[in-house]
Symmetry: C2
Subunit: 325 residues, 2 copies
């Protein structure tokens, strides 16, 4: 990703031409935390901007064991059969800590990963959740410039990662476990009001009856909750990724969703406010990073926080101290 | 609130002594947006800090028409009978825009407002929601220093105000309308997972049956949602503020709540993380305010936002521009 290999203009053109190696280099540039790379990355994205925004961006979340990779494999295979080019990205805040990555293990989607029209990118393994967020948003744009027309963003759902995914996709899908109702209680706070569909996977064999029962309970519950997208009642449906059942229906549902919210103007409004929210977030992150980079600041903040915790210093006084030169 | 009237030390001492005029002056100081007042306000709070933290902080939200003021009047009268000193504060982001205030009209709680052990303070009428938030948090501390042992924070529930109230109270209560179930659908997104109790008011006369039905529906729904407070199942109960029915029960519920979460350590953890969150929020607000105060910044930001909206500038490039000297 250094100057001697590609100029930013060449890199941009190669990405637009569909060169996978160029796309991978571009993403590595975007994921770099070095200051000099950040400016170049912004340049690159600026050059690619006219070629972005034309994909359908789909977020997928679900607890471990819900079968996300099997589902993405089944869903992706269906899409490539229809001549779509798909990119699979991941947000995994836990990988920032462990150095691992939910999509690092490519065997999880073996068939899909070998398809020429599929691009799979593991989660960035460095940086804060805010950083991972920025990188993923920019990676979406790069993939769009490379003509991927469906972008899947997968998350393991740690911490605030679902709120972030909601802020970067058009359609957000929750893959839920089958079961008789108890699973609903373990549902993460607010998650049902963030998603556009709850997909109860593994609706096959002995599980089918329980999955249908769970779906009906979700439907009842959703009836009382606020939908995530204006004008769209959040759906609850069953499928079996392993048997390939219900996958076509989900794609049709997403197509109908995109059609409806495009017509109503909700799609355009959402994308605009997503961009502005993102910009605002970046400004705040940048200001805080600069503030924290001042010598001795981290130590000072740690000390003041301790004072606040034991009740010796009020938060207001702590902030006054921090901002007094 | 100027030097010649009170020294900060005198003001602090008078507040601790229970002088209502001093308390009002202190709050006015805290609500001032002038820089010189901010430092003094931080000093004042620092002096009062050892006398704070001993109240029960209760948040109350509900749509207009849910009967918040009647309920607070009934609840407050019950508390003063038990020799509590109560302060009623308000968060009303809409008043920042209109200059009005939800508690400005004191006739709303006429009996209560004349009681010697009751202090009612309308919402600050100036500033952003973040500012209103800061002022209200500091006003809570001032009231505590003045020996008010129960603080009620009322909000009209506009925008993010409930999230803010949740971040400053121990117990959060939603006053809901009676009805046959349709009301649940109008419920604000995420609100049921923010509160510790849903109180269905106006459970009297013809409404009683419907209120009971609504309560049962809420209970069913709450069974599936995540509780706001660890170890506490969110309750749904009925009451009639006008008839004074169910008010004692709510107070007993809150007492039990405080007892349980104090024993489990959740109370202490919550207060600590509330203070740290508040501190973090103040740092971010301050950084952003300083950033925006630079000459020409507002205009530059407006222009860049337009570029982002029409798709000419990427958010990343816009932020680079803002941060390039």
């Amino acid at each position: 990703i250094d100057n001697d290999e590609w100029s930013i203009e060449e890199l941009a053109q190669s990405i637009i031409n569909g060169d996978r190696k160029a796309l991978a280099s571009g993403i590595t540039l975007v994921e770099s935390r070095a200051n000099k790379h950040r400016k170049k990355a912004a340049q690159l994205i600026q050059l690619l901007l006219p070629n972005t925004g034309k994909s359908i961006r789909i977020g997928i979340t679900g607890v471990p064991g819900a079968g996300k990779s099997t589902w993405i494999e089944a869903f992706g295979k269906k899409l490539v059969q229809e001549d779509h080019k798909i990119a699979v990205l991941a947000i995994d805040p836990s990988s920032s800590l462990s150095g691992g990555s939910i999509l690092g293990d490519k065997t999880r989607m073996e068939e899909l990963s070998h398809h020429q029209n599929v691009f799979i990118r593991p989660s960035p393994t460095a940086g804060t959740l805010g950083g991972v967020h920025r990188m993923t948003r920019e990676t979406i744009l790069l993939c769009e410039a490379a003509s991927y027309d469906i972008i899947l963003v997968e998350t393991v759902g740690v911490g605030q990662s679902e709120v972030m995914v909601r802020g970067m996709v058009d359609f957000f899908l929750l893959l839920a476990l089958t079961g008789g109702g108890d699973e609903l209680q373990g549902m993460k706070k607010g998650i049902m009001e963030l998603v556009d569909a709850i997909v109860i996977n593994k609706a096959d064999g002995d599980n089918k009856v329980r999955a249908t029962k769970a779906r009906n309970e979700y439907r009842q519950l959703l009836h009382y909750l606020q939908p995530a997208t204006k004008g769209w009642q959040t759906k609850a449906i069953t499928c079996s990724a392993i048997k390939g059942e219900g996958i076509v229906e989900i794609w049709e549902l997403i197509e109908r969703f995109i059609e409806e919210i495009s017509e109503s103007g909700v799609m355009e409004d959402r994308r605009k406010s997503q961009s502005l929210d993102w910009m605002k977030q970046m400004i705040h992150d940048r200001l805080f990073d600069e503030f924290m980079n001042i010598d001795g600041r981290k130590e000072e903040l740690r000390r003041l926080k301790e004072g606040v915790i034991v009740g010796e210093v009020s938060p207001a006084e702590a902030v006054e101290t921090l901002f007094t030169p």
